[in-house]
């Protein structure tokens, strides 16, 4: 009959909602016997065959691919890294949940640096220039990436987004570039953007169980800032339990205790940002 049909193997398409009825959800197919609407490529010619999925003995062929899904991102990250190396800048990817205090901490650190270290910032936010403006006010160079602006509202920065921010930074005139990632404990950890090191900011209002709930993020950090320490007397936060949880997912990770409100602990974090103190990742 020469009829094409894609249901020629028993591989349970229904589990994945890939039977033709499910396509109706997209409004792309009618199901009155002429249910396909495929224009250019026209993979489906057989408009009379709707229901019978059995009895096809087409051969089919398996193609081994074994390609990393994020390979393209990783290649761009490598290219970013090469650009950073060439300019002689250290690059730190700062990640946290929304509201952990990244921007307050960074603004405090930049003020403390008094221009001794030339910082640049790649500011990642889904919307607004609020954080970018706040950091620019401390005198650092800021390149804003709004992920809702041409990047589909992504909840993380990836290597191409960071790449797009580079022309707006005077890399050759900088010592350290801080990438302030989108506030999110999941997605940013999955994307290499070309950084030298990853700093995670955790605030004690988030709860001691978070390392176990977001192990990939906690594990990916080269150093973790434990922020809002000034609130410790007011909270039920169990610091020892938190430290034990960190130890189980990322044994031996470098820890800093800070209060972005009071500035406590800033000196050590600033030294680490600058790559001082035998940071093995530099």
């Amino acid at each position: 009959m020469g009829r094409f049909h894609h249901h020629n193997h028993a591989h349970a398409h229904d589990e994945h909602a890939h039977d033709e009825h499910a396509h109706d959800e997209h409004g792309l197919h009618e199901h009155d016997g002429v249910w396909h609407r495929h224009d250019d490529h026209d993979d489906h010619d057989d408009q009379r065959d709707v229901g019978d999925h059995t009895g096809y003995e087409t051969g089919g062929m398996r193609v081994e691919v074994l390609e990393k899904i994020l390979g393209e991102n990783d290649r761009t990250a490598a290219s970013n890294r090469a650009a950073f190396r060439a300019a002689g800048v250290r690059v730190v990817n700062v990640m946290s949940s929304p509201g952990a205090g990244k921007t307050t901490l960074l603004a405090g650190l930049f003020s403390l640096a008094h221009g001794d270290t030339r910082f640049g910032v790649i500011e990642g936010d889904i919307e607004t220039a609020i954080d970018a403006d706040r950091l620019a006010a401390t005198g650092v160079a800021v390149s804003l990436v709004n992920t809702a602006n041409g990047f589909g509202g992504e909840c993380h920065l990836d290597a191409p987004m960071v790449r797009s921010a580079l022309p707006r930074l005077p890399l050759d005139d900088l010592d350290v570039v801080v990438i302030e990632n989108v506030g999110n404990l999941v997605c940013p950890a999955e994307f290499d953007v070309g950084e030298d090191a990853r700093l995670m900011v955790f605030s004690i209002t988030e709860g001691e169980e978070k390392p176990l709930k977001y192990p990939v993020m906690f594990r990916s950090a080269d150093a973790i800032v434990i922020n809002k320490m000034d609130l410790l007397p007011h909270l039920d936060f169990d610091l020892d339990a938190f430290l034990a949880n960190v130890e189980s997912v990322n044994p031996g990770v470098q820890l800093f205790h800070t209060s972005a409100k009071t500035g406590d602990g800033f000196g050590e974090v600033l030294a680490w940002l600058r790559g001082e103190g035998g940071d093995p990742t530099v």
């Binding site: 396509h23 495929h38 081994e64 993380h156 044994p251």
Partner: protein
């Protein structure tokens, strides 16, 4: 919601390897240490491939358990919880499986079938 990004990347890889041939099935290896939500991945895939030549390609996921190997005692342990500590007590461990995120293979629909289909298409529509 980085599943959408992941699905865009999968579609690009599949399109390249399929080289115009109709794809029936895409098999992925996804490690337990990758933060991919299966239901979200499937939903994202439908959004990404809708109206494209990959519209009828089903996504199948091989889940790969996380395994750590101890540098002290050499034991390999499959971990169920995010505790990267060897049963011997050592924290000097290395993840040897569970971080996979790759397109393993494609199933291409039989070529002779395509020929027949094309002929039917010309005659019928």
């Amino acid at each position: 919601m980085h599943e959408l990004s992941i699905c865009s990347s999968i579609a690009a890889i599949v399109t390249e390897h399929a080289a115009g041939r109709p794809v029936e099935r895409v098999v992925l290896d996804v490690g337990y240490l990758r933060q991919v939500v299966p239901a979200t991945l499937m939903y994202s895939w439908e959004l990404i491939v809708a109206g494209t030549p990959l519209e009828r390609a089903a996504l199948v996921v091989n889940h790969i358990p996380a395994v750590i190997e101890c540098r002290s005692c050499g034991t390999a342990t499959t971990i169920e919880l995010p505790v990267f500590r060897c049963p011997c007590g050592s924290i000097d461990t290395e993840v040897t499986a569970g971080e996979e995120l790759l397109v393993r293979s494609l199933d291409i629909t039989d070529i002779t079938d395509i020929t027949g289909r094309a002929q039917t298409s010309e005659a019928g529509t």
